[in-house]
Symmetry: C2
Subunit: 176 residues, 2 copies
């Protein structure tokens, strides 16, 4: 509900109805709405690391790692759009403390793996910008879906994870 409608558009009354409780009962488990929201975000992001554990195995070449990462990320974001929307809401709201927490506790480890792959594949490029570019290509196609489906040239197949992944990987490796 937070991902779909945003923090202030979801009331304790709505939440309580969704779990068949009175609003007051929720306050037995959480001191206030803000804490409840924070716990929700942490919970939603907590188990995402596992999905990528296969990607960074040592016996893979850098290029294979990149291909696997792009594929896995697009897959994960497609299968769990709520996860994706929640990230987006967090970034738009941009609470500095929460940003720091997200960066350090949730994304840092995966980002470091990606950085080291970038260093190997494109040593002459700035690896931070390269890594962010990889993320942007994966994330943005899905993020813009509500808008781009109304733009010229859109096809149904553009929403398929494997079609998207193929496009992104080719673009990254060879350019336009």
């Amino acid at each position: 509900m937070f991902a779909k409608k945003g923090f202030s558009s979801v009331s304790m009354r709505h939440l309580s109805k969704a779990v068949n409780m009175s609003p007051a009962a929720i306050y037995h488990y959480f001191p206030d709405k803000n804490t409840l929201y924070l716990e929700t975000v942490k919970y939603a992001f907590a188990d995402k690391e596992e999905a990528f554990s296969v990607v960074w195995q040592d016996n893979h070449s850098a290029k294979t790692k990149l291909v696997l990462f792009v594929t896995s990320l697009i897959q994960e974001l497609t299968l769990d759009p709520m996860f994706h929307t929640l990230i987006l809401r967090e970034v738009v709201d941009a609470n500095p403390e929460r940003m720091k927490m997200l960066a350090n506790d949730i994304f840092k480890e995966q980002f470091c793996f990606l950085l080291s792959v970038m260093k190997e594949i494109a040593p002459e490029k700035d690896e931070h910008l390269s890594a962010i570019s990889v993320l942007s290509l994966c994330k943005h196609h899905l993020e813009m879906q509500p808008l781009r489906q109304h733009l010229p040239g859109w096809k149904h197949e553009h929403e398929q994870p494997d079609v998207l992944a193929k496009h992104v990987i080719e673009l990254l490796l060879k350019g336009l």
Copy 2:
């Protein structure tokens, strides 16, 4: 205020204070809060086409058009972050009617120019996906700024429009 805090976190009382009016006075100009918001969005997006009129001039080669477009877009988004945040909020909220309006009335024309450039530069690729990829690389670096400044490898210079534009253009033309 809508860009910064979102529709439901900005009250008519807040708005009225910001313009030194009583809440009731605003209702003389707008029938309700929703209409006021829509007018705000239209106003914020209305004059953005002009910024790109130079880009699509016929005497430019396709490659030059791409370079100019990337440079202009990153410039525009950096100079007017409110514009950028407002797009993002619209996409996250994803009201179907408003998406259609935005696509047809605001973005379509520019997107078509970009599509035709993509067709010329990368004829064997899907031009819709290519065009969205260009947008994603420009937009996402700025969008992620609050988060990525806490991620490893970040430097101050990564926020400079020309550094970003150079990176994006090289990536698009040659790959990693």
